[in-house]
Amino acid sequence: MAPRNKTVPPGDAPRVIDQGSVWILVAAPSIWAAHFLLSYWVAAIWCAKLGRGTTLMEPRWIIAGLGALCIAAIIGLAVLAIRRYGGVFVIIEEITESSERARDRFVGHVALLLCVLSAVAILFTVIPGMVLGEC
C-alpha cells in the first residue's frame, strides 16, 4: 500500500511502514506469530527428531535469543509508530476528525498497543521454555 501524503524523493521506493500505510498494524502480531512458530519448530525438532532426550536446556537459549531479537524488532516498530505516525499510548482527546493526520494518529495508537501486546505474548512463550526446560 503506497503512502499517500508523503513526498517520495525521486528514485526512492515508497516505505512500507510510513504515514498512510496500515502495514504497521500487522507487523508486531506477525513477529509474535513468527516467534511462536519458530520456537515450536526448534522444540519439536530438538525433542522429536534429534533424539536428544527430554531436556530443552540447550535449545531454550535459542528460544530466548529469538525472543530478545523479536522484542527488539517490536521496540523498533513502536519507535516508528511514535515518530512516523504520531502515535501515543493514551489518547486524551478523542480522534473524531476525518483527516489523514487523525487516521495516522489512530493507526499509531493502535500499533503501539499491539506492540505491547505482542511483546508480552513473546514473553509468555519464552518464560515457560526457560522455567520448565523439558520437552
Binding site: V88, F89, V90, F124, I127, P128, V131, L132, E134
Partner: protein, 319 residues
C-alpha cells in the same frame, strides 16, 4: 427461590469437604496449588475492591478536570505495567510449581496406565514390577513419582487432596509426583472426559505408615494362594476369565483386564465405585453392564447358583 438458593449453596459447599477436597491439602503438591489459589483469590479480591471503590468514587465525586500527564501515567502504570508484572509473576510461580511436581525423581516409582475405565497400577521395585489395579497405596512423607500413560484415549490422573492433575496420553509418558502428608484414604478420579463410564473411573489413594506400606508391598508381590482343586477357580477357568485377567501363581495370565491376584484386599470393586462385598461381586459378574455401562467385560447372566457362589467365594478369598 430462597430455598433453592440455599440448596444450591449447600450442594456446592458439600464439594468442599471430604476425601476429594483440594482445599484441605493432604499432600505437599496439593498444598502448593492451594497456596497459589489463596494468593490469587486474595489478590483478585483486592483488585476487585480497588476497581469498585474507584468506580464508586468516580460516580459520587464532583467532576473536575485531571492533568493529562497524571491521567496518562495512571493508565500506563495501572493498566499496562502492573497487570503485566502481576501476570508474569503468577506465570513464573505456577511454572515453578509445575516443574517441581513433574520433576523426574522420587523414592518410589509407580506406573499407572489409564484404561477404559479403570487403572492399571505397576509398582517398580528392585525385585521386579508388582502389578495391581484401581487402588494406589502410598507411604506417608515419601515422594512417589508416577509415570502415567493411557491405553486408548486421553485420561487425566487426579487425587485432589494429594495433588495433580496430569493428563495420561496414549503413546506418551507424563510424570507427576505426590508426597502425602496425612494418613487416610483419599479419592482419585479421571479428570478428562474419556467416554461412557468416565464418571465411574475412580480409585482409592491409601496413605500408609512407611513400615506398613513396605509390608503391604511385599504381600502384594506374592502370588495368589489357590488351593488345589478349588471349585471357584475351576469355574474361573471354565468361563475363560483367565483370558482377560491375571492371577499370579496360576495359569490365568490375561493382560486385558485388571490383575486379580489380590483382588479382595482392595476396598472397592469396579474401579473405586462399589464396596468389595460378595453381593456386589455376584452382581458385577451377572449384571456387569447394569453396574458399569459400556465396559469391555461381558456379563455372565447364565452363571447362577452353586457355580456363581463358588466363583464369588474364590474371588473374595484373593487377599
Amino acid at each position: 427461590m430462597r430455598a433453592l438458593g440455599a440448596t444450591a449453596t449447600l450442594t456446592l459447599l458439600a464439594g468442599c469437604s471430604g476425601r476429594h477436597n483440594w482445599l484441605a491439602a493432604a499432600g505437599e503438591e496439593a498444598q502448593s496449588v492451594e497456596t497459589l489459589f489463596w494468593v490469587v483469590l486474595a489478590g483478585a479480591a483486592v483488585i476487585w475492591s480497588l476497581v469498585i471503590g474507584a468506580a464508586t468514587y468516580a460516580h459520587r465525586a464532583e467532576a473536575k478536570p485531571h492533568r493529562e500527564r497524571e491521567a496518562r501515567r495512571f493508565i500506563i502504570w495501572g493498566g499496562v505495567v502492573l497487570p503485566v508484572l502481576v501476570v508474569c509473576g503468577l506465570l513464573v510461580w505456577g511454572l515453578l510449581i509445575l516443574r517441581h511436581i513433574t520433576s523426574d525423581d522420587g523414592a518410589l516409582t509407580v506406573r499407572v496406565d489409564g484404561e477404559r475405565w479403570w487403572w492399571r497400577v505397576i509398582y517398580d521395585t528392585p525385585e521386579g514390577p508388582v502389578t495391581t489395579a484401581n487402588e494406589i497405596r502410598l507411604p506417608l512423607g515419601e515422594r512417589t513419582l508416577f509415570k502415567l500413560t493411557a491405553d486408548d484415549v486421553i485420561h487425566s490422573f487426579w487425587v485432589p487432596a494429594l495433588g495433580g492433575k496430569m493428563d495420561m496420553i496414549p503413546g506418551r509418558e507424563t510424570t507427576l509426583a505426590l508426597t502425602p502428608r496425612k494418613l487416610g484414604n483419599w479419592g482419585g478420579l479421571c479428570a478428562e472426559f474419556c467416554g461412557g463410564a468416565h464418571a465411574l473411573m475412580r480409585f482409592d489413594a491409601v496413605v500408609m505408615e512407611p513400615g506398613a506400606f513396605v509390608r503391604w508391598l511385599e504381600q502384594e508381590a506374592r502370588p495368589a494362594q489357590v488351593a488345589e482343586g478349588d471349585r471357584g477357580f475351576a469355574v474361573f477357568e471354565e468361563e475363560g476369565c483367565g483370558a482377560c485377567h491375571a492371577i499370579r501363581g496360576t495359569e490365568a495370565q490375561g493382560p486385558v483386564g485388571p490383575d486379580l491376584t489380590h483382588l479382595a484386599s482392595r476396598d472397592k470393586l469396579g474401579a473405586g465405585i462399589y464396596a468389595m462385598t460378595p453381593d456386589n461381586m455376584a452382581r458385577w459378574i451377572t449384571d456387569t453392564h447394569e453396574m458399569k455401562p459400556d465396559i469391555d467385560m461381558p456379563a455372565y447372566p447364565g452363571l447362577q447358583g452353586e457355580r456363581l457362589d463358588a466363583l464369588v467365594s474364590f474371588l473374595m478369598s484373593l487377599e
